[in-house]
């Protein structure tokens, strides 16, 4: 359940820009003059339900951060460390999550639809009821993750590892699970029209 109470992004002050301004700034990421300065103070802001669409935090250490209900749509978090982060209800749609570390993160109800999480680590993460629609996650590691009622429909999960994951009610409809590792995965999932070629079970 989200704790967010306010949801009122304001428009970027740049002329003719239709995007919303970032939380703690008066412009969007594209028009932000002092990106390093803004990033430096980010850890001091209340980021619950923050507007952070399109930002680039690649490679940064964000472990344990509280980003519940934040809007990180289209953000670049490539190789960032989000281990143990609170990402419940967080929008990560279309984000670059390649190589991102989500170990033990809480992603319940998070929206990762259309994102690229190839090589990302979701080890022991809570992905209950997460939106993984159209997620690309080649060789991602979901070992021990809880995917109860998660929705990876149309996801490209080639070579992904689901060893000992919980997949009760997970909806893999039309997902590509070619060469995925489902050994030890527990629960009854929906594999309707999924590609199960080479899957280890």
């Amino acid at each position: 359940m989200s704790n967010s109470t306010h949801y009122a992004p304001v428009h970027c002050k740049a002329t003719d820009c239709g995007a919303f301004a970032l939380t703690g700034a008066d412009t969007c990421w594209a028009h932000l003059a002092d990106r390093e300065g803004w990033c430096a103070k980010l850890g001091d802001l209340d980021l619950n339900a923050a507007w952070l669409a399109g930002i680039d935090l690649s490679g940064r250490n964000l472990s344990g951060w509280d980003l519940r209900s934040a809007r990180l749509s289209g953000a670049c978090l490539k190789d960032a460390d989000l281990a143990g982060a609170d990402l419940r209800d967080t929008f990560l749609d279309g984000a670059d999550l390649r190589g991102t570390n989500f170990t033990s993160a809480n992603l319940e109800f998070a929206i990762l639809g259309g994102a690229d999480a190839s090589g990302a680590r979701f080890i022991d993460a809570n992905l209950q009821r997460a939106n993984l629609v159209g997620l690309r996650a080649h060789n991602a590691d979901f070992t021990g993750a809880d995917l109860y009622y998660a929705r990876p429909g149309n996801a490209d999960l080639e070579g992904a590892h689901f060893h000992n994951a919980k997949i009760q009610r997970t909806i893999f409809r039309r997902a590509n699970l070619k060469d995925a590792d489902l050994t030890g995965a527990e629960g009854s999932a929906n594999f309707e029209n999924a590609n199960l070629e080479g899957v280890a079970r």
Partner: protein, 186 residues
């Protein structure tokens, strides 16, 4: 704009609250159960429950109505008028509902039920059981299934891609994700 998501026990259905920061008026979208967290939130935020919008007349979206109306004088909006045994106001395509300064619009999305409706609010749309993340609602016939997909294309997928979709069950999504990745459309 105030926004809050509640997950209630009945069929794991979602209830959403939107509210106006200026007037402190609030509206609930679907109410499968009068979960104690809902009145607690209204009290803490000093909100007045002005309206309840019901996307369709199924128990897991209406069973909390009676208890809510015992404590609040809220207008009930639905596609039928009478829902969950409670009399309310019937709304249809493009009808406007105001909650303080918030302006919302009704969009028809039948198929799962004949009177199914969605609510378009600033930056988001509440789709009930018509459209879920990666799925659509169950229907009673192939004709109703086609009808549902057609209405979703016309009423939901024509909204801006960054609009949030908040369905009756499961996680939220965006118009762009569902338009481009939902297996029922791609």
């Amino acid at each position: 704009m105030i926004f809050r998501h509640f997950l209630v026990d009945v069929n794991e259905s979602n209830t959403f609250l939107i509210g106006c920061e200026e007037t402190r008026e609030a509206m609930l979208v679907d109410l499968g159960e009068w979960d104690p967290a809902i009145p607690a939130f209204l009290e803490v935020q000093k909100l007045r429950l002005a309206a309840i919008f019901i996307t369709h007349d199924h128990y897991d979206h209406t069973d909390g109505l009676r208890a809510a109306l015992e404590h609040h004088e809220a207008e009930v909006y639905s596609g039928k008028g009478c829902v969950g045994g409670q009399q309310g106001t019937r709304v249809t395509q493009d009808d406007s509902i105001a909650i303080g300064a918030l302006r919302c619009r009704v969009a028809l999305t039948p198929g799962h039920t004949p009177e199914g409706i969605s609510l378009v609010a600033p930056g988001m749309v509440f789709t009930g059981d018509a459209l879920f993340a990666g799925s659509v609602g169950g229907t009673s016939s192939p004709d109703n299934a086609k009808r549902q997909l057609s209405y979703i294309r016309d009423q939901i997928f024509t909204l801006p891609g960054d609009y949030e979709i908040h369905p009756g069950h499961g996680p939220s999504s965006t118009v762009a994700v569902e338009r481009e990745k939902n297996p029922f459309f791609n």
